[in-house]
């Protein structure tokens, strides 16, 4: 896996709380390959977002990360802020959930796309403007020239998210981090954004880390999926293995709780019993054991290691779903 674009090893993240620091990401390893959509799945509080924000130095104040994150021959976790700033927005682009808050309401679209072009690529004003129009065209904003003069409120949610993606692409990054990019959008619009990300991956060889709790979205586009629970990866494999033949009881339960388009109507949904644990109160042993239908005595004491099982990584020694 030396060809990996990003290699994360032993990542730990601690955040300050009123009760003292709590570990929200606890020893995470993964690698993202070139031109792949790497899915990071899990419920709120699973550490999925923090595990990615940590790489970019975007943790909330007082947050601390250790471990390694190798990207282009450097360790992102060891870079100075100024060095990280040169990577962020240039080699790594970021798109957030809510394009209404991630875009500046008082600046025109042209100003917002132009800024990274001038800062990271050193383009002149006019060159930046031309490039910005091309980027808007690449994300299929109709009539890019007039869009440059428009302001965020003049766009719909879907179009704003396209603009946010165009800004993230401005530095011509090799990696795009998308944190719940479609969660705030209508399904009809979400479908378009999913297809856009897929095309960018194909046309530009862009790698995407897609963070979402929506396994439906994940199942449409991710090549590989890492399932997070209570700050750890519990299962990591290619899309088909995770979604069609899940092996971790949590992955199985998460899939069962979704409305399934092909399931007969009126079938009740099957929620996971209990609730995801809050950071700072992760249960001992396998953090999922209190909610797990297959838990045995050892699950309550021993933290399961993430081990290779064929072509997947699995953190469940009980392995009740093995065929």
């Amino acid at each position: 896996m030396s060809s990996a674009l990003l290699e994360v090893e032993g990542l730990r993240v601690r955040l300050p709380t009123r009760e003292g620091p709590v570990t929200v990401v606890d020893g995470v390893d993964y690698a993202v390959q070139p031109a792949e959509v790497f899915g990071v799945a899990g419920e709120s509080g699973s550490g999925k977002t923090m595990s990615v924000l940590a790489l970019l130095g975007l943790l909330p104040p007082g947050g601390a990360a250790d471990g390694h994150a190798l990207f282009g021959g450097r360790d992102l976790l060891r870079l100075r802020r100024s060095e990280l700033r040169a990577v962020c927005g240039k080699e790594i682009g970021i798109v957030f959930q809510d394009p209404m808050t991630s875009l500046h309401p008082m600046l025109s679209i042209g100003q917002q796309i132009g800024e990274p072009l001038r800062i990271h690529l050193g383009l002149s004003r006019s060159a930046a403007r031309r490039q910005a129009a091309e980027l808007l065209d690449a994300v299929r904003i109709p009539d890019p020239e007039s869009a440059l003069r428009a302001f965020p409120h003049q766009f719909s949610g879907g179009m704003r998210q396209r603009v946010a993606i165009a800004i993230a692409l401005a530095g011509n990054p090799s990696l795009l981090i998308a944190d719940e990019p479609t969660t705030a959008l209508d399904v009809t619009v979400q479908a378009g954004i999913i297809r856009l990300l897929d095309r960018l991956r194909r046309e530009r060889g862009l790698s995407v880390i897609l963070i979402t709790h929506d396994l439906g979205v994940m199942s449409s586009i991710a090549d590989r999926i890492a399932v997070f629970y209570a700050g750890r990866v519990v299962e990591l494999a290619d899309r088909e293995s995770v979604v069609k033949r899940p092996r971790h009881p949590y992955t199985r339960a998460l899939l069962d709780s979704l409305p399934h388009p092909e399931a007969p109507a009126d079938t009740p949904l099957v929620p996971i019993r209990g609730m995801p644990p809050a950071a700072g109160a992760f249960p001992a042993g396998c953090a999922y054991h209190p909610r797990c239908a297959y838990a045995v005595a050892s699950c309550t004491t021993e933290v399961p290691a993430l081990v290779r099982e064929g072509d997947r990584l699995l953190a469940c020694p009980v392995d009740p779903l093995r065929e």
Binding site: E43, S44, I141, P142, A147, L215, S220, D266
Partner: protein, 354 residues
């Protein structure tokens, strides 16, 4: 027994530039006790306006709302008539609909009416309500911030139940929740509706979750209801092209890597709705009649209605299957713009400066 009846409702707002905006046009809806009716559509389709009209938060400019046989008058500065407390509303975001500074129990007790108004009775009733929504009675002593999103939504539902309602209108109650919490709350709604023979109007943009929850569904587009029917039948054979598009856009969590279908274009400005059928600019099956005349919602098959000019078959079948024998249907998918189209953008649409 019909508990809520809405007939030919119009909701019109006046924008700051004095332009009249018809958010809801001629919408009719009825809900029986113990029935869950889903109301689905994209943002801006008028579903929340219709919900607000149902509970009297906005005054319809035309039509009539009847709740338990009585006319619902819009809220004024005067006290809401007691009879209307049996008509409750739950909002989308349980982070903003609960008061962060008051204990959960106090907030639920606000809604209590009648005999349970006495003090000891009150706290017992609050405990019962919390247990009814799957929380422990002890939760009454805690504050909203001590609960997860799914739990807060349960608290909001318990507060609505305190008034002993016969109907609850829920505006996107599941949208801000994780998959598992979403399933829990959806199942809770089904149970409550059955056990308390409670009518529920469930507003959602997610047809997939509505399908597992609601008995009947109304699909709304740009202020008009375009299709109604039993949820199961609408899902398996949608009659309106818009309903078909909503279903095709649902991502399949099956691991196959199938891309959901994007619906090209956007919901137009409701102040200037397209001529004829409001959906025609985005409809892949439109033909000459569509931009000319607006189709009325009419009975199509038993228990189903649709507002669409496409010819129907002898049995319900989706537009894509009927298209083969609709010679008049024109294709809008020319190859040069297909990638924009697949990604949900109408290249001719003037976005941005609208």
């Amino acid at each position: 027994m019909t508990v809520l009846e809405m007939e030919n409702i119009d909701v019109t707002y006046e924008r700051r530039d004095h332009v009249k905006l018809k958010a809801v046009v001629g919408a009719s809806l009825s809900i029986d006790r113990g029935q869950i009716v889903g109301l689905v559509g994209e943002s801006g389709c008028g579903k929340s306006s219709l919900a607000r009209a149902a509970v009297g938060l906005v005054a319809p400019t035309a039509g009539r709302v009847r709740f338990e046989g009585e006319d619902v008058a819009a809220l004024t500065r005067r006290a809401r008539p007691r009879a209307l407390t049996r008509l409750q509303l739950v909002f989308q975001n349980p982070y903003s609909s609960l008061n962060p500074r008051r204990r959960v129990g106090e907030q639920i007790a606000d809604g209590l009416t009648g005999d349970s108004g006495r003090r000891a009775g009150r706290s017992r009733r609050v405990g019962e309500l919390l247990e009814l929504v799957g929380l422990s009675a002890a939760a009454a002593q805690r504050y909203p911030s001590q609960f997860s999103g799914g739990q807060r939504q349960r608290i909001a539902i318990a507060r609505a139940l305190a008034a002993d309602p016969s109907l609850i209108v829920l505006d996107e109650p599941l949208a801000s929740l994780d998959a598992s919490a979403q399933a829990q709350v959806a199942n809770l709604l089904v149970e409550l509706s059955r056990e308390l023979s409670l009518g529920l109007l469930l507003i959602s943009h997610d047809l997939a979750i509505v399908r597992h929850t609601a008995h009947a569904v109304s699909v709304m587009y740009l202020g008009r209801i375009v299709e109604t029917g039993p949820t199961r039948e609408v899902w398996s054979a949608p009659l309106h092209p818009y309903t078909e598009a909503l279903i095709a856009a649902v991502p399949r969590p099956d691991g196959s890597g199938t891309m959901p279908e994007a619906l090209p274009g956007e919901v137009p400005d409701p102040a200037r709705p397209p001529t004829g059928c409001r959906f025609h600019p985005r409809c892949p099956y439109r033909f000459s009649r569509c931009p000319e005349e607006e189709p009325e919602l009419e009975p199509a098959f038993p228990a189903r209605t649709v507002g669409c000019w496409l010819p129907r078959d002898a049995t319900p079948s989706p537009p894509s299957r009927r298209r083969a024998h609709t010679a008049a249907a024109t294709t809008t998918n020319d190859s040069s713009t297909s990638s924009s189209h697949e990604e949900g953008v109408m290249p001719t649409h003037k976005g941005g400066t609208a």
